[in-house]
């Protein structure tokens, strides 16, 4: 028996897909407050009114984040980090959404939310610990209400939902935000998070950065309709926002967060953006995507467009831009120095924090290993 191809079905299938997909999505469904050319436009549902200070702040956040990210990539090339997952191109999605939050809100990131971490006040060098291989998560989640980076795709969405259920139980009006990617949308856990959050009306915002790639797989391998539409099937609203438009990301996230505060339950925000860099420093995108796509997205760069807007509107002058640049360089230097002097963990850290209340076997193995190590020291004497 030979294996026939599915060709017979394919033409219909792909024609189906084309008709169901992008053209309407990108144009009519996408919330945008700033065009790629840096022109401010209004949206019927989402508006925003920020002071010049606040606007400049968003710019600064994005520049600082990008600079930090570039520094980390360099540090990886120099062997100071084992790996780096760059957020290049996703600054607007991250800064916009994160700046919609209050301090008492809680964030559940993936492994790529360096911009969000920045807004939460997490020291950037802290983010590098796990990429350098000195720990598996280098900060106390509760000091900035910013949970640890989560690598197992999608699992944090359930933690966010549970946390939000707890918030509701406490009668607090905080909101919770869960970040995840387009690839993650396929995981059972993410869909269970949709179910639980809807059923319990949990105050959580699902913020999906659709950067159009899950390593080498384009979003069509995960869904045949725009991802924001997924929410409707679970009974809560979904909205697609221009992920390279920091103002729109802020406005849309703010609206979602406020819904959550008002007790109206979850919202899915799909930030339509693009992963400008490789998946991680281990990855070689030339294997699976072409230069054209990259170029077309370069012209939609989130920082460029925002700078154009700020300059055109006279909100930021060259001095300000230069000052931010200088500050970013300072940050880069600080991070560089900090990483290079970051101490390796003590070997015995292997046995630390395995349990909060202790475990006899860990104690036994710790003691044995210490004795084993001491035997070398003795030999060395």
């Amino acid at each position: 028996m030979t294996v026939e191809s599915t060709a017979a079905r394919k033409p219909r299938r792909s024609s189906k897909r084309v008709s169901a997909k992008k053209p309407p999505a990108e144009q009519t469904e996408l919330v945008q407050l700033l065009t790629p050319e840096g022109e401010r436009v209004e949206h019927s549902e989402y508006s925003i009114d920020l002071s010049h200070d606040e606007l400049r702040g968003l710019y600064r956040d994005m520049v600082m984040t990008r600079c930090f990210d570039a520094e980390a990539t360099t540090l990886q090339r120099q062997g100071e980090l084992g790996l780096w997952a760059s957020l290049l191109g996703q600054e607007a999605a991250q800064i916009g959404s994160a700046r919609a939050l209050r301090d008492d809100d809680y964030v559940f990131p993936t492994y790529r939310e360096h911009g969000v971490a920045w807004c939460r006040g997490v020291d950037p060098t802290n983010l590098l610990g796990m990429f350098r291989g000195v720990n598996n998560g280098g900060w106390d989640p509760n000091s900035n209400n910013f949970h640890l980076y989560t690598i197992v795709i999608g699992s944090q969405t359930l933690h966010a939902t549970g946390y939000a259920m707890g918030v509701a139980k406490d009668g607090a009006d905080s909101a919770v935000i869960a970040y995840f990617g387009d690839g993650a949308s396929s995981q059972g856990d993410v869909n269970e998070a949709f179910t639980f959050s809807a059923v319990y009306n949990a105050p959580v915002v699902f913020f999906c950065q659709n950067n159009q790639w899950a390593i080498s797989e384009p979003t069509e391998r995960q869904t045949r309709v725009p991802l924001y539409q997924r929410a409707q099937g679970f009974g809560f609203p979904g909205v697609r926002v221009d992920g390279n438009d920091v103002l729109a990301c802020l406005a849309v996230t703010k609206a979602a967060v406020e819904r959550a505060r008002r007790g109206e339950g979850p919202t899915l925000v799909e930030a339509f953006t693009y992963r400008m860099a490789a998946h991680t420093t281990n990855d070689d995108p030339s294997k699976y995507r072409n230069e054209d796509e990259y170029e077309s997205w370069k012209s939609k760069d989130p920082i460029e467009r925002f700078r154009t807007y700020l300059s055109n509107e006279g909100i930021a002058d060259q001095d300000y831009l230069d000052a931010v640049e200088a500050e970013a360089e300072q940050l880069g230097k600080r991070v560089r120095d900090a990483v290079r002097t970051m101490p390796d963990p003590d070997t015995m850290a292997i046995f630390e924090n395995v349990y909060a209340d202790g475990h006899a076997l860990v104690d036994e193995e710790r003691a044995q290993f210490a004795a084993y190590q001491a035997s070398f020291a003795e030999e060395g004497n």
Binding site: W139, S155, D189, N353, H359
Partner: protein
């Protein structure tokens, strides 16, 4: 003031949950059908009625979601006690348990705690259909960050659950479902021993039988039968699978010089393997026979009409006792 009462093992669990809900407003119960129905084994019977839907939460039918949201609630400061309806249905939650729940405390360098209890009715002997009779404890014991316990009687059911809920680590609490209806005395004002310590439930000099959960009763019966044949068999109720109380087992084996480990779970890669390996190392010069293991076969749990022969019963335990004594 005495507070000793005779009750079934499942009732003891129910009372223990009630006490926990009363004592700590952060304790919440989550699971499928734990609310109005009170769980398919009635372990949460009446709790939702008395503590409300906010404390005793019927969840959507999704085990990963149950454990995943429990983790989130623990991060928020709650102490969720999660029910998995049957042993065979814990696997959809396996990823959340192994990659998240077990590792969160370490990942956070100790800055967060994971006081989550996962209650799982386990084991066979109740004539159920597939997936309702399994003993998956080994699949969790290998994973660092989890604690695993299993009571064998009503008093332990009450107290070990209290201790599990008070523990700041995730505890998988395996309930011997075929012993749910066994009655025993529970003293709710006693001071319990350490959660992870084995207990000699019958003294003996010729051989040690080590078991936990449902097999403790079987081992006691076997020891009684052996006594009639003049063999003095000690029975250890291990109570905890992670950590295992190797000190306690060693102490017993140094006296009896022979050990048979009994569990329902398959022998291959089961608890008996770990106990045999470590006790052999610790007691190499004491052992007069290899540590023998009695347990399930390397086969799926069989249909109900075969379980009596599949499950380690009196005869198979005695057979192992005889073989060990024959060395």
């Amino acid at each position: 003031m005495s507070s000793i009462e005779k009750m079934t093992l499942s009732k003891a669990l129910n009372v223990s949950l009630r006490t926990a809900l009363e004592n700590d407003p952060k304790v919440v119960i989550m699971g499928e059908d734990v609310g109005k129905l009170g769980g398919v084994f009635r372990v949460t019977d009446g709790l939702q009625k008395d503590f409300g839907e906010d404390r005793v939460i019927d969840t959507p039918l999704a085990e990963s979601g149950i454990v995943g949201t429990a983790i989130g609630m623990a991060l928020r400061g709650y102490r969720p006690v999660v029910e998995i309806q049957f042993d065979g249905f814990v696997f959809p939650a396996y990823d959340q348990i192994v990659t998240q729940l077990a590792k969160m405390h370490a990942r956070a360098l100790g800055t967060v705690k994971m006081p989550v209890v996962i209650r799982i009715p386990y084991g066979g002997g109740i004539g159920a259909v597939e997936h309702h009779s399994e003993s998956p404890e080994s699949l969790f014991a290998h994973v660092a960050g989890l604690k695993i316990v299993s009571p064998s009687n009503a008093s332990d059911a009450y107290w070990m659950l209290q201790q599990a809920i008070e523990c700041d680590d995730p505890v998988i609490f395996f309930e011997p479902k075929r012993r749910y209806w066994d009655k025993g005395e529970v003293d709710t004002s006693a001071i319990p021993g350490p959660l992870h310590q084995a207990r000699v439930v019958r003294g003996g000099t010729d051989l040690t039988l080590a078991a936990y959960g449902p097999m403790v009763k079987t081992c006691l019966e076997a020891a009684a039968a052996a006594a009639e044949e003049g063999k003095s068999v000690e029975v250890l109720d291990l109570r905890s699978v992670s950590p295992l109380d190797f000190d306690g087992i060693q102490k017993s084996v140094e006296r009896t010089r022979r050990l048979v480990v009994v569990h329902e779970a398959p022998v291959f890669f089961g608890s008996g393997a770990e106990i045999a390996a470590r006790i052999t190392e610790r007691c190499f010069y004491h052992l007069e026979a290899p540590v023998l293991r009695v347990g399930g076969f390397h086969a799926p749990y069989p249909p109900a009409r075969l379980e009596e022969e599949y499950l380690p019963g009196l005869d198979r335990v005695l057979d192992a006792v005889d073989r060990a004594l024959a060395y």
